[in-house]
């Protein structure tokens, strides 16, 4: 953790000259560690649709690309996109299995949050993406993995949906809970999002 030296905030209009000079001198002495302190982006990825997973992965990959620690907490619907694409049905009991039957897991099978049109929607978005060279969620996920984004599955969701470690894609971290995420969100130099 870097400790930052920051010049005291001085109201330029009201401060006497000596105070201003002192503040400027203090700023000049600072080694710039305030600027280079490690920043962090924490995203709670609660949604599982294409148009919501997309911004999660864009923000995470750009954060990692910009030298931030990027962490994505995948919970509820937002955990299903990170199940292996080949897994069609997950879960132990009939309700969990039916859930996976109706909401197909995997990053290649995402629905749109509106205008899904029984699958026409994502198909059209796919066509538009190709035409305008927009990265697909799968490509973004690969970029995230390359850039070292940390993916944290929600333990509670795994339990409730009957998801096992072997159902999930490789490269995910240990399952955690809300308290871990809360602590991360309230660290210094951290921005957080709920998507």
């Amino acid at each position: 953790m870097t400790t930052e030296t920051q010049a005291p905030a001085v109201d330029a209009v009201e401060a006497p000259e000596e105070q201003l000079t002192a503040a400027v001198a203090a700023a000049a002495e600072s080694d710039g560690s305030a600027v280079t302190a490690q920043r962090q982006l924490v995203i709670i990825n609660w949604s599982g649709e294409y148009d919501k997973v997309q911004p999660t992965l864009i923000m995470a990959s750009v954060a990692a690309a910009s030298g931030y620690k990027a962490k994505v907490f995948m919970t509820f619907w937002g955990l299903l996109p990170f199940v292996k694409d080949e897994k069609r049905i997950t879960g132990d009991n009939w309700m969990q299995k039916m859930l996976s039957f109706m909401q197909r897991p995997g990053i290649d099978h995402l629905k749109l949050s509106k205008m899904n049109f029984m699958g026409m929607g994502p198909w059209m978005i796919g066509k538009l993406s190709k035409e305008y060279n927009v990265a697909s969620p799968k490509e973004l996920l690969e970029a995230c993995e390359l850039m070292g984004v940390e993916f944290m599955p929600c333990q509670m969701t795994m339990d409730m949906f009957g998801l096992k470690r072997e159902d999930m894609i490789d490269g995910l971290g240990e399952p955690v809970g809300a308290a871990t995420v809360l602590e991360l969100m309230t660290e210094e130099h951290t921005g957080s999002l709920f998507i």
Binding site: R39, S61, V62, A65, S66, A143, M147
Partner: protein, 78 residues
């Protein structure tokens, strides 16, 4: 025009956010500190993005130009 030699080029032409930044970040990790790399992009949004990215990462934009819709950035790796 910079007279120092460009180490390598990232061709991000035709790519949309976030790929120009992500590809550049990936490439920059592979070049020696102090090298100059050239990035070519067609995404107008990337102009501001590269400013933000270089500020966040401590890399520097040495040169920036646009020609016929292609934006060219020369970036020095910190």
């Amino acid at each position: 025009m910079t007279t120092e030699t460009i180490h390598s080029t990232v061709d991000a032409k035709g790519l949309s956010c976030p790929m120009p930044i992500v590809k550049t970040a990936q490439h920059v990790k592979t070049v020696p500190a102090g090298s100059l790399i050239e990035v070519l992009a067609t995404d107008p949004g990337s102009v501001k993005d590269f400013g933000a990215w270089t500020r966040s990462t401590g890399n520097a934009i040495v040169e920036q130009s646009e020609d016929g819709g292609i934006y060219r950035f020369v970036i020095k790796r910190a």
